[in-house]
Amino acid sequence: MSDEQPADGPPPIEVRGLVKRYGELTAVAGVDLTVQPGDVYGYLGPNGAGKTTSLRMMLGLIRPTAGTVRLFGRDPMESVAALDGVAGFVEAPTFYPYLTGRRNLELLAAFDGHGAGSRIDEALATVELADRAKDRVGGYSHGMRQRLGIAASLLRAPKLLLLDEPATGLDPAGMRDMRLLIRRLADDGMTVLLSSHLLAEVEELCNRVAIVRSGKIVYEGEIAALKRGAGTEYGLSTTDDERALAVCRAQPGVSDLHQKHGRIVFTADEPTAAQLSQALIEAGALIYALAPQTVTLEDLFFSLTEDGDPAVTPAVAEPAEMAP
């Protein structure tokens, strides 16, 4: 969390029981999440999981069927004043193609008031679009529009930034630049909610995540806690794997034991792994290799959103901050 954010007061985003139905289709099925000041909060889920619909409700663009959204304690459906200090975009940022980048920002700054116009040059410089500001947006590349979207958000001097797939469609350099920009904004104390498919990006940028599947949150909390909850997966090879398997079965704290690619694979914490190595030696199964396998956010994501790899599924079935 940032030191610049007030610790008290309502959280930047508080969503409770959020539901959106379109006829028979339930796009969002009771989402609860809380974004705290200073969070860089990842909102993850496969296509059609309800991420964008949730974000639209958070920004007051669509009415929830049920549930509440509060931004710094204010309801965005009641008045656009609830968006004071809030900015962002859902799906691709959109602009008037026949106006220049600068004109678009001038228009949005006029709609914002509160001196937003004085921030245009700074915002353009931040997203490195100053030299193309006089070109019509119709001629902008996708990446330039994404960056202009960030610039449009910065005009509002936001305390909370909601970004929906900001790196989608960008080339590797553009993705890196976008990541650096978000990192810089977060370091400046901005709270960020980042919806993304790019799990490596989320893992690098975010401290907390919500993972949504079929319109429901299946995990909300710190990435570190999610990983801890998943335990560490170890790969083991010994001089006598049959005997080693028996030792592993008998060792308390070892779970998800199986063989894969000629190795023994199991999940355990570090003290358990240390005790197991001693037990293996005592049993005469000498160790060739006992190595922890890194569990990535991607592994955990797939285990939560698909039937997934059984190696991690049981371990994350009861994460530390599992949503109700």
Binding site: L59, G60, E91, L99, F111, D112
Partner: protein, 269 residues
């Protein structure tokens, strides 16, 4: 609201359809007067309203109003009224402007005012160009009223402009219908064509046999209300009737457009 209005006007400056409508408003009277000149030059001066047109250039805008009422002005008006909300859907920019600091009603009011301004500008531009080219052709001469009396040129000029303002009553109703279709269809072409089709359909109803009783309450009839000004004494009845009949068409459409705009989910774009 004025912020939106200023920016909507500025946006119109960058869009082709703005110039198509205003261009038509300028070119039609020029072509019309050129055609009158051509016929006179070849001795064919016995066409409809030729005596009015050849006596005074001030008759030109009124004759154009008579013929343009059916499709031209509703179409020019619909070009902006039908597009002004639907194009935001097309560009996906509703979500951009709805997440700034202006309330939806302010945005709607600004857009409505812009569509009205465009309709007013098109009619006044057309009328002014028609007066200028008409006077170049036939002179700034006294105007013959529909009752046969002669009205001085300055008084005639005043009557022409007041006629244009009265003609704006049904045009404002068309603006409201265009805004409603623009908000509902979310498609510029459908809204523009739909607005024109409604205007034409109402006129079609007016010529159907056996429907004479509804004629005074049709929007198409109100396009001719300005003719009351050109009678001696002035016949205010059709003008007053035009005011409330147009309000009956326009205000519900505007209210419905407002509610649709206010309550809509911006789920696309």
């Amino acid at each position: 609201m004025l912020t939106v209005y200023r920016w909507e006007l500025r946006k119109l400056r960058y869009q082709k359809r703005t110039y198509i409508g205003l261009g038509a408003a300028v070119i039609v009277p020029i072509l019309f007067v050129a055609a009158v000149h051509f016929r006179n030059h070849h001795g064919h001066d016995d066409f409809a309203f030729s005596s009015y047109l050849n006596r005074s250039g001030l008759a030109v805008p009124l004759v154009i109003l008579l013929f343009g009422a059916i499709w031209m002005f509703p179409l020019i008006t619909a070009l902006v009224a039908g597009d002004i909300i639907a194009s935001e859907d097309h560009n996906g920019t509703l979500k951009t402007i709805f997440t700034r600091s202006l309330e939806r009603w302010q945005i709607f009011a600004g857009k409505t005012l812009t569509a009205v301004t465009y309709g007013v500008a098109a009619i006044l531009l057309n009328g002014t160009v028609a007066i200028v080219v008409g006077c170049l052709q036939s002179g700034f001469n006294p105007l013959q009223s529909l009752s046969g009396t002669i009205v001085s040129a300055p008084k005639g000029l005043e009557l022409v402009y007041v006629s244009l303002l009265i003609y704006l009553l049904p045009i404002l109703a068309i603006v409201c219908i265009g805004l409603l279709l623009s908000a509902i269809t979310r498609n510029s072409a459908a809204a523009v064509v739909g607005t024109l089709m409604i205007s034409l359909l109402i006129q079609l109803i007016g010529i159907l046999p056996g429907l004479g009783a509804v004629q005074p309450y049709l929007l198409s009839t109100q396009f001719n209300a300005w003719q009351g000004l050109l009678r001696t004494p002035i016949d205010w009845a059709p003008i007053v009737q035009s005011a409330w009949v147009c309000a009956l068409y326009g205000l519900p459409a505007l209210a419905a457009a407002f509610l649709v705009f206010l309550r809509r989910d911006v789920a696309g774009g």
